[in-house]
Symmetry: C2
Subunit: 103 residues, 2 copies
């Protein structure tokens, strides 16, 4: 892929507590917030024993802007206090990509 | 994290066909294979509308070795032909990480 431009992935992995009241509404709100941000590319998520949400971004600046968003900070606080027993956030640079078929 | 050493993530995102016969056994085999490889760190996976599997590795060489493993090549071929309607593999460099709580 000679025109491949590196971009960034935020891998958010989590396990939930039993008290997930309000979680779904906030998760939807955070997804909508991400999609409105400049530099957003796409988001994928799935949850079984662990939840994995991966959002993709054009730049580190775009990720920083999301992180500093006040609504995002409130959700993060609530997540720490109530919804998540554990979470990990990794900021990654996507260096190569292969795709087969159509989504 | 002053002792943070960059490592690598392979993000495998997929949608399945309706013909998933043999898939679970092969998925388990591939997970076991990854865990035996030198340079393997950890693997997380979850599936809902899309499946997301993220494996973490000490080096690009370790990822290359897995990719070239003959059992992995067979699984890949079978995945293309039968199990997946679409998939995407991204090789990423993990540059930063934040963790809260215990997994």
């Amino acid at each position: 892929m000679k025109d491949f431009k590196p971009y960034y992935a935020v891998i958010f992995t989590s396990t939930q507590t039993e008290n997930v009241e309000g979680y779904n509404a906030m998760a939807q709100k955070m997804e909508d917030l991400a999609k409105q941000q400049e530099g957003f590319i796409i988001i994928d998520m799935a949850r079984e024993a662990v939840g994995i949400t991966v959002s993709y971004w054009r730049s580190l600046e775009a990720i920083k802007a999301l992180k500093q968003n006040s609504e995002h900070l409130i959700a993060q606080q609530k997540g720490k206090q109530q919804w998540y027993s554990w979470y990990n956030t990794r900021i990654c640079k996507v260096e190569r990509e292969y795709e087969v078929g159509e989504k």
